[in-house]
């Protein structure tokens, strides 16, 4: 069953010399429970697309429907993880996670055990009382993920959530995220510019071309789950990354090195 229906959604910005297209018309259907990556180079409008999807910025054209309802203002049955953790610096880890519950006016007592469960799942148990500045970059992003999941949203949006992390933390978080998703599959839109991250995590990889961005390919990733980190060394995984790299080369996003 489809959860998200995007039809011809586009974004143009007014600038001094007229208009700049940030995103050419995009159409996309995402099924309930699907893990979909949106893969593209910097500046292809991926983040713009995500903000439009969440109803946080307006569109210049097209329609977006989530669960049959038009998105014309912020859609709130979702959790968002941004590239910047956006934790509130004055709140500790637990209270940053519980912020989601407070703002939504739900009963904190009811969600506290779940918050603790989530924090344990990402290895943040024992760090509940720490302030964001006392955490590493990876830990902050883990806390942000817990905050995005605490209220059991219908949809999880992630905008290059691991883009600012070192390669090792990034690998670990990819594995952890998959585990959390398998424990409770929800619909995920995952924005990234990493080919292997996209293939590792996703059911589908949507490829975008830059300036103005548009969807250029939609690749189904048929690898069994749970996928261990070592899946990246398998021929099947390699075939997917090769196919994607080949398409980016074809579009001039990547240049072939010297033969």
């Amino acid at each position: 069953m489809s959860l998200i229906q995007v039809t011809g959604a586009a974004k143009r910005y007014a600038v001094a010399s007229g208009e700049v297209a940030a995103l050419d018309p995009v159409s996309l259907t995402v099924n309930e429970g699907e893990f979909v990556s949106i893969l593209g180079p910097s500046g292809c409008g991926k983040s713009t697309f995500m903000l439009m999807l969440a109803g946080l910025i307006s569109r210049s054209a097209g329609t977006i429907e989530i669960d049959g309802v038009k998105v014309d203002r912020p859609y709130t049955d979702l959790g968002i993880v941004f590239q910047d953790h956006n934790l509130l610096e004055w709140r500790n880890v637990l209270s940053n996670v519980m912020l989601q519950i407070e703002v939504r006016g739900r009963d904190p007592a009811q969600y506290l055990p779940r918050a603790q469960d989530l924090l344990r799942m990402v290895g943040l148990d024992g760090a509940e009382a720490r302030l964001p500045h006392e955490l590493s970059g990876g830990m902050r992003q883990r806390a942000a993920i817990c905050r995005a999941l605490i209220h059991e949203p219908r949809l999880l949006l992630m905008d290059e959530p691991f883009g600012a992390l070192d390669a090792l933390s990034r690998d670990q978080l990819n594995v952890d995220l998959q585990q959390m998703w398998l424990a409770r599959p929800t619909t995920v839109i995952f924005i990234t510019h990493s080919i292997s991250e996209a293939v590792f995590l996703s059911d589908r990889v949507i490829m975008m071309t830059p300036r103005p961005g548009k969807i250029a390919a939609d690749i189904k990733i048929d690898l069994p789950r749970p996928r261990p980190m070592s899946v990246r060394e398998t021929p099947a995984f390699g075939a997917y990354t090769k196919q994607i790299r080949g398409l980016f080369e074809e579009w001039g996003v990547l240049r072939r090195g010297a033969a």
């Binding site: 903000l51 969440a54 946080l56 912020p74 859609y75 709130t76 979702l78 959790g79 968002i80 941004f82 910047d84 956006n86 509130l88 610096e89 004055w90 912020l99 989601q100 407070e102 703002v103 939504r104 302030l131 964001p132 500045h133």
Partner: protein, 258 residues
């Protein structure tokens, strides 16, 4: 080697300054009415204690009233400016214009309007201290990152939730910077007000002592006034330490102190 504690630095500097002061009087043979010795200032402090203490207390009331007014009006106006753009466009230029008017020059007018009592001093203290309060609070309330606003709206936060849970806490470091500037300005404002015309308060004591060439007493008054200013400043700094323990400025202090 044992580390020099934090408080010892200003104390040492202060003691050295007093010694320098005392030595230069002896070396240059300065007359007591030109520059009294530290010892004679201390003597004046003891001898005229009652009068000085009363005056200090009176002036302190003006300072606190003027400061409190500037905090209430300053933060209130800042909130209005941030939430309603037309107000910013209309009022900000006037605010800046008012700030560059030398308040000392128009202070006598306040005495004409409001008489010799508490009111004109409180008004001048307020006028001098309120500008840094508004400007800093406005900067603070604007400091919120766009990502945090997106986050808030994705949670369906109401305008008041966005203000109290996101914008206001984020503004606290700037608000405290405003409070510190504002309270010291209020001290100056109260004294300026008393210089123009007053029957009571430290400003009047200073004027009279100056007129009578009682320079030691003048200095004693200044010492008390400084003490009041420093005490008010330290109270705010202590509050700041509690309220914004999370902020980078406090972290740097903690790390230096540890």
């Amino acid at each position: 080697m044992k580390r020099f504690p934090d408080w010892a630095w200003p104390v040492t500097a202060f003691v050295l300054l007093v010694v320098l002061w005392d030595v230069s009087i002896r070396v240059f043979g300065l007359k007591p009415f030109v520059l009294p010795s530290p010892a004679s200032v201390a003597q004046a402090l003891v001898a005229d204690w009652q009068e000085l203490a009363d005056a200090t207390l009176y002036t302190l009331v003006e300072i606190v009233l003027g400061f409190a007014l500037s905090v209430i009006v300053g933060i209130g106006l800042a909130v209005a400016i941030v939430t309603w753009r037309p107000l910013e466009k209309a009022i900000y230029p006037i605010l800046v214009g008012a700030q560059v008017i030398p308040k000392v020059a128009i202070a006598p007018l306040f005495v004409v309007w409001l008489g010799l009592g508490l009111a004109p001093k409180v008004l001048i203290a307020f006028l001098l201290s309120f500008f840094p309060m508004v400007v800093n609070t406005v900067v603070g309330l604007r400091a919120i990152e766009i990502g945090k606003l997106h986050l808030a709206r994705s949670m369906g936060a109401t305008a008041s939730q966005i203000f109290f849970r996101f914008r206001l806490p984020r503004a606290m470091p700037n608000i405290f910077a405003g409070l510190k500037l504002s309270v010291t300005a209020a001290v100056i404002g109260a004294i300026v007000g008393e210089f123009i015309g007053a029957d009571e308060g430290m400003g009047r004591v200073l004027l009279v002592a100056n007129g009578n060439l009682e320079t030691a007493k003048l200095f004693a008054g200044i010492v008390l006034l400084s003490a009041v200013g420093i005490a008010l400043f330290l109270i705010i700094a202590a509050l700041e330490k509690i309220v914004i323990r999370w902020h980078v400025s406090q972290r740097a202090l903690q790390e230096l102190g540890s």
